[in-house]
């Protein structure tokens, strides 16, 4: 007599230590094997797009800081300012564009460090978290001294940045770059060569290139699947077109490849920051822009490379002092959808590793 079996429906979250925020995964299991995963999102939905329609262009800078991805506030400010500047034909001064580039890359490192730490914790490596936080603290200090804020900066303005860098900031930033490059090999020792870490990430959660494109994945997730695409290279903004940097691409498409891509991206970010610090010019930091800026009628799509991927804003203006409609193209939203493909066929214990490897921030998913 055959044993009667049936599929098991397992709820992970919304309160689960490894879901990186409030995310519920409805996992259909056949024994230990994952048959299907349906992420249930929306717990952090605050309808930022609706709120933006009721705020001026300047006020919205503070809103995108908080309402979108809270771990990369600079990237959110950047995409919003970029969209507005393009539509209003405002150009930020040279110095401001350098400052923005430095801030964006620092933000990328700090966001990747959070990811590295939490990914380590997900897989049982606690030291990585402490070390990553230690490095991130230095970046937070740099942010704090320049912008006054640690997480939410409201530092970028339409047509520039709020204030010039304080005295000695560039030296402190250069010191941080040296310090951080010394620390990076330690992560290799801690995780890259760790047999437990390798066993849990190598070959796990594979996302093929064609699937990654079709499902709308972007950023490190797509680059780990062999898609050599980075907005900073394909559609340069700020001063990325005159900087030397590599775009790490892996073809394996597994969790380990995603880890390696992000680790290398941090090295490249340091490279970018060093070049900017060497060549940053003196001068104005903000173009003259009215506080109640009225943006001419029109439509624009601005895209940037946020730490999580292809972050875009589709802005529609009707010539008023508030936008008519803003669509935020959040990278984590599409990356999380690709999760359903990555997880199919793996064991229930791999759920944590795969989810950790795509680096989602739920406020970016839900907005």
């Amino acid at each position: 007599m055959a044993l009667r079996t049936e599929e098991l429906l397992l709820n992970m979250g919304p309160q689960h230590p490894s879901t990186h925020g409030v995310l519920r995964l409805v996992v259909t299991l056949d024994g230990e094997n994952i048959v299907d995963v349906q992420p249930d999102i929306g717990y952090l939905h605050s309808s930022v797009e609706k709120m933006m329609e009721y705020r001026t262009y300047l006020q919205n800078i503070a809103l995108v800081d908080r309402g979108m991805d809270y771990l990369s506030a600079m990237a959110n400010e950047e995409v919003w300012c970029l969209a507005t500047e393009r539509l209003a034909k405002i150009e930020a001064p040279e110095r401001a564009r350098y400052i923005r580039t430095i801030m964006l890359e620092l933000q990328r490192i700090s966001s990747h460090l959070i990811w590295l730490g939490t990914f380590g914790i997900d897989l049982g490596a606690f030291t990585a978290f402490l070390w990553a936080m230690r490095e991130r603290e230095r970046i937070m200090d740099l942010f704090e001294s320049a912008t006054g804020g640690r997480l939410h900066h409201v530092y970028f303005r339409i047509g520039g940045v709020y204030e010039d860098l304080p005295d000695g900031w560039t030296d402190r930033c250069a010191t941080f770059c040296d310090y951080f490059m010394d620390r990076l090999p330690e992560y290799d020792e801690l995780l890259t060569g760790n047999p437990i870490f390798l066993a849990r990430t190598q070959g796990v959660g594979v996302l093929p290139t064609a699937k990654a494109i079709a499902m709308g994945a972007s950023g490190p997730v797509a680059r780990a699947s062999g898609l050599a695409y980075d907005v900073r290279r394909a559609h340069p903004y700020e001063v990325y077109d005159r900087l030397q940097f590599d775009i790490p691409v892996r073809t394996e498409g597994d969790c380990f490849a995603r880890y390696l891509v992000r680790l290398e991206e941090m090295r490249q970010s340091i490279r970018i920051i060093r070049q900017c610090l060497e060549t940053i010019p003196q001068g104005e930091i903000r173009a003259k822009v009215a506080v109640t800026l009225r943006v001419p009628k029109g439509e624009v799509y601005a895209r940037t490379e946020s730490p999580r991927g292809d972050l875009g804003i589709y802005l529609i203006s009707e010539g008023k002092d508030m936008p008519y409609r803003v669509k935020i193209r959040a990278p984590a939203f599409s990356n999380l959808y690709a999760l359903t493909e990555m997880m199919r066929g793996w064991k229930v214990a791999d759920v944590i590793a795969i989810l950790g490897s795509i680096d989602i921030v739920l406020s970016d998913v839900d907005r």
Binding site: K89, A214, M215, V289, V300
Partner: protein, 221 residues
């Protein structure tokens, strides 16, 4: 950002209507678009003839916005609803277009025209070209065919658009609310959707306000 793909599509499907172009200067317009890939360069190139010596940052500050020429900076086309699937299939599969990546699907509410504009934004990683499509549908009983069979990634984007606008995507495999709870009433991103605090919340806020005033902290406001 070039209009080549949009023009090619217009040749293939004459019934589509291209978006209005920035500047409306056919002679100079093509030159700028060909050279400046990042829009910053395009803006810099376009500013001197348009501003006549004015610096470009001063333009929006000095002139009222309604006098500035409209700037439609996204190449794209308005397509009829019944042709949407056919056009999308050509865009995604024909190597001439190669738009295999769907950036997002969203909608814009135009209550004065009584219609929604459903917006699709496609991109090609090979040619680095983008193209936006718009479908105009009446606000009452709005529906468009789902493009999930062409771009798998449209799945959640269409669910989000359904959730926040109430547009039905016919043939979608799993058209449920995604952001709001299942029992939510209304579609928040519609222009006529006005958030109103429930009565109990108004009551709580009033009570809090009275309490704070009782503490003598009222002068802060």
């Amino acid at each position: 950002m070039s209009w080549d793909l949009a023009e090619k599509l217009k040749v293939r499907f004459p019934e589509i209507e291209l978006f209005p172009r920035p500047g409306h200067q056919p002679g100079t317009g093509n030159g700028e678009r060909g050279t400046g890939e990042p829009p910053r360069g395009e803006v810099a190139a376009a500013a001197p003839p348009a501003g006549e010596g004015q610096t470009s940052p001063a333009v929006p500050a000095k002139r009222p916005a309604h006098e500035a020429p409209p700037a439609y900076l996204v190449p794209g086309a308005v397509v009829p609803k019944d042709k949407l699937l056919e056009i999308c299939r050509v865009l995604a599969t024909d190597p001439e277009f190669g738009l295999s990546y769907l950036s997002f699907v969203t909608a814009v509410d135009r209550p004065e025209a009584g219609e929604f504009e459903v917006v699709y934004h496609c991109y090609s990683h090979q040619s680095r070209e983008e193209l936006a499509l718009k479908v105009r549908v009446p606000r009452d009983g709005a529906s468009v065919p789902s493009v999930t069979s062409i771009w798998d990634g449209a799945n959640w984007h269409e669910r989000e658009t359904y959730d926040l606008f109430g547009i039905i995507f016919e043939g979608h495999p799993n058209l449920r609310r995604i952001m709001m709870t299942d029992d939510w009433i209304g579609h928040p991103l519609r222009k006529d959707y006005v958030y109103k605090d429930p009565a109990w919340l108004v009551e709580v806020a009033k009570r809090r306000k009275d309490e704070i005033e009782g503490l003598g902290l009222g002068e802060r406001a």
